[in-house]
Amino acid sequence: MAKQYKVVHCTVNGKEIEQIVDVRSSLTDMLRNDLHLTSVKKGCEVGECGACTVIINGEGFNSCIYLAVWAEGKEIWTLEGLTGPGGELSDIQQAFVDEGAIQCGFCTPGFIMTSWEIVNSGKEYTDDELRKALSGHLCRCTGYENIFRAVKKTMLRHLGKFEEAELVNSQGITEYPEPMPFK
């Protein structure tokens, strides 16, 4: 049977695009091969590792198991869309650098996209909720603590809790100062 192609219209990183795709193509393939957005990583290709995560209409999806044709009319963001016009890093990207949350870097774009959704949600997640929200991503290098800390600190800063963000210790726990004893 002959291959079937379709035209997909969507917005990627703020730009409207029109792309012909094989109906079987994954969104990962379209973003990487046709649009050259190589931050979208091909890891497991079965939706387990989260390296291919992109934001579609405000929510994180595994683009490796998302058909490109489903992107019709959707607004998609990849890591390339988070940087400023001069290549400046967004705050969540900078936090990953500052906290040493990157080693080989393969899982990083996916982690950052999910983190971006978390920190822009306006919600204050508990430590447990935050760990669960990040659990669709696998990292073989960092041991997750630095990633967790980067996301937690950025989330607190987005909520205007700058002092609290500085109290997050190396294990990601917020260490409040001892209250002054009564005299």
Binding site: V23, R24, V46, G47, G50, F61, I65, V69, T114, S135
Partner: protein, 267 residues
């Protein structure tokens, strides 16, 4: 391997296009990773993403009606969803996958490590199924039995009781791994209802254990473990998920634990 894709606009269009060489694709977390033999052999995919009217969660008396295309994340976030179903949906640890996976897709995949089927079986969930141009109602368990004989059915909605005492347990090496055992127990009008999914064995109705608990609510853990150990109807085997003995032991202690929890006993 599929080369054609049909974006169905309605459930009727989707079922009309279904034939032996076509498979439905809902959220894509199973079919797009070729998680079933049918998906690998199909030449046409029938996408249900654009089907209207399949993604609402609504209350209907003492039941909750969930559209088949509702995602796991919708189920988790909805205030109408019963807590026991939210718990089962959260067994899928990845939020990015929960944004995609649908309740209808998870049922239709009939996986032996299904996230939702044990709990849907236990609460005797009713499915609305489109078949040969008309909608039928059947329990999730009857769907499983019919689907093996007749694949040309499309689930359009799932109805679950709003208030029911239900407990579930899932065992896997990591939150992302295939589960060796998922088991659910519900307290129905007739007594305990006990179902499970055992990896490489299948979706199971533990009728003998159910009977044992109903006849003797004070049955001991050792008696239950022994019952499962010698059960000839249970076709467990040694594999990478564990030994035959391990699986049988796990089924026994889990069944006992769930029953005790339902009865409000200390475990």
């Amino acid at each position: 391997m599929a080369t054609q894709l049909l974006m169905a606009k309605s459930p009727e269009e989707a079922i009309g296009a279904k034939n032996a060489s076509a498979v439905f694709i809902a959220g894509g977390t199973e079919v797009n990773r070729l998680g079933s033999d049918a998906a690998a052999a199909a030449d046409t995919l029938i996408s249900l993403k654009k089907c209207a009217g399949l993604n609402e969660i609504e209350e209907a008396g003492d039941m909750v009606r969930i559209g088949a295309m509702c995602t796991f994340q919708q189920i988790v976030e909805s205030q109408k969803t019963p807590a026991y179903l939210k718990e089962a949906a959260l067994f899928m640890a990845s939020r990015t996958k929960r944004n995609m996976a649908t309740i209808g897709g998870n049922i239709a995949a009939l996986r032996d490590d299904s996230y939702l089927l044990p709990v849907l079986f236990a609460v005797h969930a009713e499915l609305e199924v489109l078949k040969a141009g008309r909608t039928e109602s059947m329990t999730a368990y009857s769907y499983m039995e019919s689907a093996e004989a007749d694949g040309d059915m499309l689930i359009t909605a799932v109805c679950v009781p709003k208030n029911m005492k239900v407990v579930s347990k899932r065992y896997a090496n990591t939150a992302q791994s295939h589960a060796v055992l998922t088991m659910s127990a519900a307290m129905t009008g007739e007594g305990i209802s006990l179902y499970g999914a055992v990896k490489n064995v299948g979706l199971l109705y533990f009728c003998d254990l159910e009977k044992a608990f109903r006849e003797n609510p004070d049955i001991s853990e050792d008696e239950i473990i022994e019952m499962v150990r010698v059960c000839t109807g249970l076709e467990t085997a040694d594999d990478m998920f564990g030994s035959d003995d391990y699986k049988r032991y796990l089924i026994g202690v889990t069944a006992f634990g769930l029953h005790s929890k339902l009865a409000g006993k200390e475990v």
